[in-house]
Symmetry: C2
Subunit: 322 residues, 2 copies
């Protein structure tokens, strides 16, 4: 399915009442380390603490009143679920969120925060899908996919569109790669609105299905993810993959053992909390720092939903990172 | 020594090129918990990550060129040292920072960040003072006190002055109490520019010299501090105490075991890093929440310099806080 320039423009106006135009925050310690100019687009300032509101709002605002009255469903348990719940509340719909019954109680509490109805199921993707289908069937509710849909891709594109409104001179736009919605949307935004900008994906070395697929030009679905970057464990979706393989300049990998040290280093230097997934682009860029010299770079910080209860000591971060 | 309205006004213009007018960030989760309107004045956005730049800049800008050429000294090792180093760099002076030789390497590195010369000494306050006096004698350098001086108090007052420029309807201004410079300055700012505002100090229960002194009207110097809030272990200085005892509405205490859970809770909810000292007002306010209902409250978040290497698990924060 094609996602046109006009689709992005429509998404930009449709989502405008629901997304925050997040700031580009300069990052002096990275400027110094890489001899470059680095800004982060800080999506933690969205009301749900993550960028997912962009895609969810572009999807849900396209439903009819009748559809909204029946409700929306998702079986994600992370930032996407919060985005769906938040949007359902805004539009007077009901969100059903399917979560495995062994989920962290904090995640369940967060999912309920915006008034969503949480339905617990036995763990495992089979059971989640079955429970979701049951809700869709019984309530007539509509599934809001987390990434594999043109409306979601167009919604996520608005982060890059805002970036290009603020800066016309971005050399690299670096984006974490999980399901691929944000990377695909960003690549399209650059193609249509800032063709000089190279869009780079960043993926954990221990969840590199996107990297392998990109290199061979064909979607890779057999990788078993094993990374601390919980937001990036998903396999790239079909809709995003077909855009990524055409429009993305490169995909860089982050070494697993560098991800948490970079997260803590970023906390320490900027005093801004970012989730582990957001340390993946920083770690990957540091590995490729030779290519960054003198460049103007924007990194999208996708969210800040960290379970602090699970946090252990950061250890000697500077010794680890060198 | 008296600190007049005009002293505050002069401090406000003198420090203007060096301080950031930090934002008042709304805190919805506290609004809901306390049924109040709460903003934090987020001093972590200062270039050194803490409010101490205010007092240090008001002090150092009053030195002559000749004095600046000889240098400035401090034997603090925390945020004040960074403020002195930062200001020395701005004004082409040299900062000498006396630190015990067993200091955390990160603190030493931070002290050097702005070009200061770190002089290590044997641990203990005696040795620090002796080394500082040696530097003052040998170099003719001037000691910049961290809190016990009218120029420092007037400089710290600028945080409250900025607050009152942005909001004329503040019921409570709540300030962490360590050496007392910020609390004394804030109380004077309210007296001169927002007399309806009650200024409240917040102190750890395990370092309550300020609380005891305030209650008996006489400075208390025998308390042994034993708190995780490392920025608040100092004894209140004489200059600040004489202002605090006249101008502050009350001092509230934070239970020691609630300080770190509140810090982590604040991180989790706002995605902003604050240091343990800043959780003290929040914990103390929560204990006194009956008095907060319906009030408009500003809390000064003094800084965000946390040693993440020392961090352990936050545990089940919500269970602890109720």
């Amino acid at each position: 399915m094609n996602v046109s320039k006009f689709d992005l423009e429509k998404a930009f106006s449709r989502t405008e009442p629901y997304r925050v135009v997040t700031p580009l925050v300069p990052v002096p310690f990275l400027n110094e380390r890489w001899n470059a100019e680095v800004w982060v687009k800080h999506e933690a300032f969205q009301p749900i603490g993550a960028f997912k509101i962009r895609g969810a709002s572009n999807f849900i605002t396209q439903l009819s009143r009748e559809e909204l009255d029946k409700g929306v469903v998702t079986h994600s348990s992370g930032n996407h679920a919060q985005a769906v719940a938040f949007m359902a509340k805004q539009l007077g719909s009901c969100a059903y969120i399917i979560m495995p019954e062994d989920s962290n109680p904090l995640k369940i509490k967060n999912a309920r925060k915006w008034g969503a109805e949480v339905q617990l199921c036995t763990p495992g993707i089979e059971s989640r899908l079955r429970t979701a289908e049951k809700v869709m069937h019984e309530k007539g509710a509509i599934m809001v996919p987390p990434f594999d849909h043109p409306w979601i891709v167009a919604g996520q594109a608005t982060a890059a569109m805002e970036t290009f409104m603020l800066r016309s001179d971005v050399d690299y736009l670096v984006i974490p790669l999980g399901g691929g919605g944000l990377l695909a949307g960003s690549a399209l935004a650059a193609k249509y609105f800032s063709p000089e900008t190279k869009v780079i994906g960043a993926e954990p070395d221990q969840a590199k299905d996107g990297y392998i697929g990109f290199k061979k030009g064909e979607r890779e679905r057999t990788v078993q993810a094993n990374t601390v970057a919980d937001g990036l464990r998903t396999t790239v979706g079909e809709v995003p993959f077909n855009i990524i393989k055409e429009e993305v300049a490169d995909i860089w990998l982050a070494q697993e053992e560098k991800i948490l040290p970079w997260m803590f280093k970023f906390w320490q230097e900027t005093h801004l909390i970012i989730e582990p997934s957001c340390a993946v682009p920083i770690a990957a860029m540091d590995t490729n720092r030779d290519q960054l010299k003198g460049k103007r770079i924007v990194v999208v910080i996708t969210g800040a939903n960290v379970d602090l209860g699970q946090l252990t000591s950061a250890g000697d971060v500077d010794a680890t990172l060198g």
